[in-house]
Symmetry: none
Subunit: 224 residues, 4 copies
DNA sequence: AATGAATGAGGCTTCATTCAT
DNA sequence: AATGAATGAAGCCTCATTCAT
C-alpha cells in the first residue's frame, strides 16, 4: 500500500498516537467534513469533538487542507481494500458481480459509516483549494474501479439486440440511485436500523428485472 | 400561486424595485449561491455584482438565509410553471412523456441557466441553517412532480411480467444520471456548445432500449 | 503626484474618513511598525491604539502588507515634497547644499516625527513579504535623491589632490552618522527637547572641518 | 573573563554537552536569530537545524530570551578576545591602528561568519523583550572599545587647526559606512567571493585621504 | 430609500513553553 | 537526561449584520 507507507512517514506524528485517540480524531474530522464540506467545516469543532488541544490538529496534519486530503487518501485506501480485495473476479456474470459489490458496500457502510459518508461528501466537494487534488486521485480510482468491474465479463448471456454499453449505464445509474435511496432512508426519523437482508432482497428485484430484460431468456425455467 | 402572494407581502420592498434592478439582484445572488453554496456565498460579492448598496440586501430580504430561501421559492415556482404548465398530460405513454420533460428541461436550462444551476446546487445544500427548510419544500415539490408525471399513464403497453414500479425507478434514475452526465460534459475544457439535437438523439437511444425491454413487443415493425 | 492619485482610488475608503481618524490610524500604524518591524507589529495593537474596530483596518487597507506599503508610499511622497520641493538647486557649493538638507531634515523630524521614524525603520526592514517591494521603491528614491544632491555641483573650489568621489562618501557617512547620533540623543532619559540651533551649530563644525580639509584654502581670511 | 564564569554556572547544562553538539546548537541559533530577528526566530527551526529535542533548548537555556542573551554575551566575549587580544597598542598612529582593526575584522568575519552576522543583527534588534538588556551590554562594550582604540594615540602628527575629536568621529563614521557598504556588496547577485586585498586597498584610499587632510604635511615625499 | 462605515465573533494557523514518559 | 506531545494565547483576516447619516 503506497499511501500507508507515505502516510506513516509524513503523518507519523498522528500514527504514533494511541489508537483510541487516532479514532476520535478520524471520526470527528470525517463527521465535520461530511456534514459541512471542506470550507465550512470548522477545525474548532473538530478539536472540540475529538477532545484534543487546538494546536494538535496542526501538529499532526499541518493544515486543514492536508488533513482533508489525508482523510481522503486514508479512506480511499481502506475502501479499496474492502472492495478490491474481496471481489470475486471469477464470477463473469455482470449482474452477479454487481450483487457482490452491493453486499460489500453494505458491509462497508455498516463497518465504517463515518468514512463512507465522508467519501461520498468529498466526491461532491467543490472548493477550489482541494478540488483539483481530489479529481486527480478520483480519476485513477474511478478508472480502475470500472475497469475492474467490467473486466472479463461474459457477454454471451446478453440478448443480441441490446446495446450493451447503454444497458450498463442503466445498471450503473440504477444501482447508484438505489444506494442513494437507501442512504436517504437512514436519515428519516422512522429509521431504526439497517436491515441488510431486506435491502438485498429489494436490490435483487432490480437485478432480476435487468436479467429478465437484458439477458437471453432460456426456455427451461432454471433461469437464475 | 400561494408563494407569489406571500412573497408580495413579505418581500414587497424587493418587488417594488424596478424590474431591471430586481433581475440584477436575482442573477447576482443565484450565481453566487450556485457557485459557492449557502455559507461560502458572500453577500459582499452579491451586492458588488448586483451593484447595489450593502445595506439594501438586508433591507429587502432581512438576512442571508431569507434571501436564499426566497430565491429557492421563487425559482421553484418559475420552474413549476415552465414544467407543469407545458407538459401534455394527454400523452399516456410514459416514455413519451419523459421525452417531453427532457425537452422542457433543455428549454429551461437554455432560458434560465442561472436559475437552473441555482436550484441544482440548492438541492445539494447541506448547511444546517437552510437544510431543513429546503427539505420541507422539496418533499412537496418532488411528491407532486412524480404524481403528475405518473398520473394517468397507460400501463397496457407494458410487458405483464415487468414490475412496473421498479421499472419506473430505473427510468427515473437513468434519466437523472443521463442529465448529470450531460451537465458534466459542459464542464470539460473541450466543451464548446450545447447541441440539443445530439443530446436528444442520445436520450432516445436509452428510451428505445427501455421500450425494447419494458413494453410488449409487437410482431409488426411499427414499434414506435 | 502619481501615488496620491492611485492612493485616492485604491484607498478611497481610508481617505474618505474624517481627517482626525485618518491621523489616528496613520500614527498608530507607523508607531507600531517603527517599533516592532513589519512582522512583529500587531494589527490588534494598531486598532486598539487607533481606537477603531478590528475589521476596519482590513476594510481600509485589505491586509497588513498593503497597509505597510501604503504607509511607505504615503510617507515617501510626503517627505519628497518636503525635501525636493524646498532644496535650492542654485546653491552649487556641496557643503552648503548639505547644510540646507540638514535643516530640512530637522524640520521634517520636528513636523512628522512618527513618519520619519517609520521610514527609517522601514529601510531596515528584512521581512520577505515586503522586502522586494520596498527595494523597488527605494532604488528609485535613492537614485534620484543622490542625483539631485550631487547635480550641478561646483568642483572648482575643491583641492586638486582630493579624491572627490571618496570625499563625498566621507561626507555622506558623516552626515548619516551625525543624524543617527542626534536621533539616539532623543532616546536618552536626560533628553528634554530638540534644540535646532544647537544641532546646527554642531553640524556646522563638521562642515567647517570638511571645508578646511577638502576645499582650496584662500590666502585671505574670508573663508566662508 | 567574568561572563564565562557566570555562564559556566548558569549554563552549565549546556557547557557539559559534548563540544560538537554545543557547536551545532550555537550555529543553528545564531543563524536563525541573525536571519529573522529575535521574535520571528523559531525555536522549532533551531532545534530542527541543531538536531536536538525541543525540550532540551529550554532545559539548557530556560527560555528564548535567555538563549538570545547568552548568545550575545558569548559572541561578544569571543569577539573581544579576537580584537582586544590582538591589537597592537604600541602603534600610536590612529589611522594605522584603524587599519589593524579593519584587518582583524576581516579575519573575524572569515573565521566566525555566523557569529559576526548574529552580533550585527543583534545590534539592530528592536524587540522590547531584549532591547534594554542589549543596550546595557552594548554601552559598556562600545565605551571600552573606544577607550582602547583611542588610548595612547600620538596627536603630534595631526594638524594643529583640526578639531581632533570631530575628526575622529568622521573617521569612525567613515569606517562604519565603509564596512556596511562591503557587507551590502556580499548580498548582490553579482557577488562571488570576498577579496580581502581589494577591500584593504580600497580602505587604504580612504585612510590616505584622511592622512592627507588631518595630518601635518611633511615637505619630503616619504609621507607614509 | 439608500449608503457604506462600523462591529465583533469566528475562521485558520503559529509558537514559546510545559510536562508526562 | 532526553523526547516530543500537549497547551492555549495571540496572530491575521473574513463576514453577516447593524446603524448613523
Amino acid at each position: 500500500m503506497y499511501f500507508r507507507k507515505k502516510a506513516n512517514s509524513i503523518f507519523s506524528k498522528f500514527f504514533n498516537l494511541e489508537l483510541e485517540k487516532q479514532e476520535r480524531i478520524l471520526n470527528a474530522s470525517m463527521k465535520e467534513f461530511a456534514q459541512k464540506g471542506f470550507k465550512n467545516a470548522s477545525t474548532n469543532e473538530i478539536v472540540k469533538e475529538a477532545d484534543i488541544a487546538k494546536g494538535m490538529l496542526f501538529h499532526y496534519f499541518n493544515n486543514k487542507k492536508d488533513l482533508f486530503l489525508f482523510l481522503y487518501d486514508y479512506s480511499l485506501e481502506a475502501l479499496e481494500e474492502e472492495f478490491f480485495g474481496k471481489i470475486d473476479l471469477q464470477e463473469r456474470d455482470l449482474l452477479k458481480r454487481w450483487r457482490q459489490l452491493a453486499l460489500l458496500k453494505i458491509d462497508v457502510i455498516a463497518k465504517y459509516p463515518e468514512m463512507f459518508r465522508f467519501i461520498m461528501a468529498a466526491n461532491f466537494e467543490n472548493d477550489g483549494k482541494v478540488k483539483n487534488e481530489l479529481q486527480n486521485r478520483n480519476k485513477d480510482f474511478i478508472t480502475s474501479s470500472y475497469a475492474m468491474i467490467y473486466d472479463n465479463i461474459d457477454h454471451s448471456k446478453w440478448r443480441n439486440d441490446i446495446d450493451i454499453k447503454r444497458a450498463m449505464d442503466i445498471i450503473n445509474w440504477t444501482i447508484e440511485g438505489f444506494g442513494v435511496r437507501q442512504q436517504e432512508k437512514t436519515k428519516l426519523p422512522s429509521f431504526s436500523e439497517f436491515n441488510c437482508d431486506e435491502i438485498m432482497a429489494e436490490m435483487d428485484r432490480y437485478l432480476e428485472l435487468f436479467r429478465n430484460c437484458f439477458y437471453k431468456q432460456q426456455e427451461d425455467a432454471s433461469s437464475q
